[in-house]
């Protein structure tokens, strides 16, 4: 065992602990399954009956957006769970053990990724039920899900950082809601952003949520020639820019969260 494998091995041990916790908390698991079902139905039939997009059904347009929304919400589990654990003695135990400092965060983000995978599976099945279809090759579709999960994993580190800075579940929830809602709604996830007025359109075009949604639409083939993609650079190169976003998020937030973790639990 060395400095490179140790954090991963310890991280997996802790991920296993978290997975058992999820398994034994019906409310958590229920939320992870129910939430996508409710969202798909609500958006598909409520928004779907009034919003029209040129050249395709709104449901096909919508589903990739809902996928992105669900991983953003799913990734918040990481931060929320960390704030809960911070209130208990378990971190003291972890800290007094000969394990890598990053192991606790790796464990948490990995188990939350597992949860996000199950949410995404339920959501995709729900999507198929309401009429969403993949129009690309299986490989491209797989790449679409892979991209969403990479984003989910990276975003877990963002919520971990916020959680370790704020420390309490209440303040974490407040900030998470306040930040994630504008992020999700001032984007092309639910609407055709090119119809937004000037400044809002600019925000929507450069919002990473739009980039990820556009990338998912391309990979699943949920686009239409009748609907012109915005000229904004991130949307013209949605897949590579998404990968760039993921890399940037990981490079910034993994060390930041690890440093905050050390500081938080040792003071």
């Amino acid at each position: 065992m060395n400095a490179l494998t140790l954090p991963i091995i310890d991280g997996l041990t802790i991920a296993k602990r978290n997975a058992i916790k999820i398994k034994r908390s019906p409310d958590l698991l229920g939320a992870a399954v129910m939430f996508p079902i409710v969202f798909v139905l609500m958006f598909a039939y409520v928004f779907g009956s009034v919003i029209e997009v040129p050249g395709m059904s709104y449901k096909e347009f919508l589903l990739p957006g809902i996928f992105v929304q669900s991983v953003i919400i799913g990734a918040q589990t990481t931060g929320y769970t960390l704030t809960l654990d911070l209130q208990k003695g378990i971190f003291d135990r972890f800290r007094s053990l000969p394990i890598a400092r990053s192991a606790v965060l790796i464990g948490q983000t990995v188990s939350d990724l597992l949860m996000n995978i199950s949410t995404l599976v339920v959501m995709a099945l729900m999507g198929l039920v309401v009429g969403w279809r993949v129009h690309t090759s299986p490989l491209e579709a797989l790449a679409g899900f892979g991209l969403l999960l990479l984003f989910a994993y990276a975003f877990s580190w963002v919520t971990a950082t916020v959680a370790l800075a704020l420390r309490t579940p209440e303040s974490f929830n407040n900030v998470a809601t306040m930040v994630s809602f504008p992020l999700m709604f001032i984007s092309n996830a639910f609407i055709d952003a090119s119809k937004l007025p000037g400044p809002l359109r600019l925000v929507a075009e450069w919002n990473p949520v739009s980039t990820f949604t556009q990338a998912a639409r391309e990979l699943f083939g949920n686009t239409s020639t009748a609907m012109k993609t915005s000229d904004a650079w991130p949307l013209q190169h949605a897949v590579p820019v998404s990968l760039l976003w993921i890399a940037i998020i990981l490079i910034v937030f993994v060390p930041l969260a690890t440093r905050l973790y050390k500081k938080t639990v040792s003071s």
Partner: protein
């Protein structure tokens, strides 16, 4: 005998609060030292510094041959720690909790499993092994937490107020477990607010107040230090208390204590039986009716009062907030 734990001049500050103010101690290998003091005295902070959970602002310490700052990573595999708040996961079963700790000590899957079962048996938790810890009683939680500290069979152990909040029966059970452990030759640093606990479990007791050690010795040595015996007299009426105090003042070799509720006066004296005889004579001359009288050895409460000027438990209320701040 070599020291398993040595600390010198440890200082830890939180803003304006000085939690440790030049704390020093040494624990020879295979012995038990109890840190005795009220909440906020710096006991928990001392344990957190010695177990690498906190970095001291000044001072140095060596535990199991490792410097707590420079060799922190190596040190963690040589110590076991069980804290004030049971560090176990509610959703996991007792066995899963211990197995996880074993895996994190890198014992491997098989050994972790085996070790978990051994410890569960030793701590009388076999029946509860496969139930989530959520349903455990307070005493069981402390036992599983203590078992967690022992997974890697560490040579040096830290127990931070292991029985705080437990009922007397659970406390006695835990004492038995700890006594057994200590008989096995482990070095143990224990913190407690209970005189009886320190008296019963420790070879040496260190009295801690305001972030530093103020006295150390065996229970008997500490009691001797505060002077020979105590005579305790109970009168029949409240009005007689003051006269009793005045009458007996010449016998006292230290501060007298008056218990207005219990109508008693305690006087530290040099020679117990002789002082008692004289005290009763004088009080009879004054016409004071004595309901009860006796000679007793000083308790650890007397020790604490004499050394610090306050009782162990009296200022618990206003130090609680401070203590929470520190352990957060």
């Amino acid at each position: 005998m070599t020291d398993a734990i040595v600390a010198e001049g440890l200082v830890k500050k939180y803003g304006n609060v000085t939690a440790l103010d030049g704390m020093g101690l040494s624990v020879p290998a295979g012995t038990v030292l109890a840190l005795l003091g009220p909440n906020g005295a710096g006991k928990t902070t001392t344990v957190r510094v010695l177990t690498t959970l906190l970095q001291p602002d000044a001072g140095r310490a060596v535990v199991a041959g490792c410097d707590i700052v420079r060799d922190a990573a190596r040190l963690r595999s040589l110590i076991g720690m069980s804290g004030q708040y049971a560090a176990v996961d509610d959703h996991l079963t007792g066995a899963e909790n211990l197995e996880m700790v074993g895996r994190l000590y890198h014992l491997g899957a098989k050994r972790s499993k085996k070790r978990a079962r051994e410890l569960l048996e030793r701590f009388d938790l076999t029946d509860a092994a496969d139930r989530p810890v959520k349903g455990y009683s307070g005493g069981m939680r402390r036992r599983i937490d203590l078992a967690g500290a022992l997974v890697a069979d560490p040579p040096v152990l830290f127990l931070d107020e292991p029985t705080t909040g437990l009922d007397p029966r659970a406390r006695a059970q835990l004492w038995d477990v700890i006594s057994e452990l200590v008989a096995g030759g482990s070095t143990l640093l224990l913190t407690t607010q209970y005189m009886e606990e320190a008296d019963r479990l420790a070879d040496q007791i260190m009295v801690v107040d305001q972030g530093r050690a103020i006295a150390q010795g065996t229970a008997d040595q500490l009691k001797d230090r505060v002077g020979g015996n105590r005579i305790e007299l109970t009168v029949t009426d409240r009005t007689e208390l003051e006269i009793t105090r005045q009458t007996l003042a010449w016998l006292a070799v230290g501060a007298m204590q008056t218990d207005a509720e219990g109508l008693s006066v305690t006087v530290p004296v040099t020679d117990g039986p002789e002082s008692l005889r004289q005290a009763l004579g004088r009080l009879a001359e004054q016409g004071i009716r004595v309901r009860d009288a006796g000679v007793r050895r000083p308790t650890m409460d007397d020790v604490y009062l004499t050394l610090t000027g306050h009782r162990v438990a009296e200022d618990r209320q206003h130090t609680d907030a401070q203590d929470q701040e520190i352990t957060r």
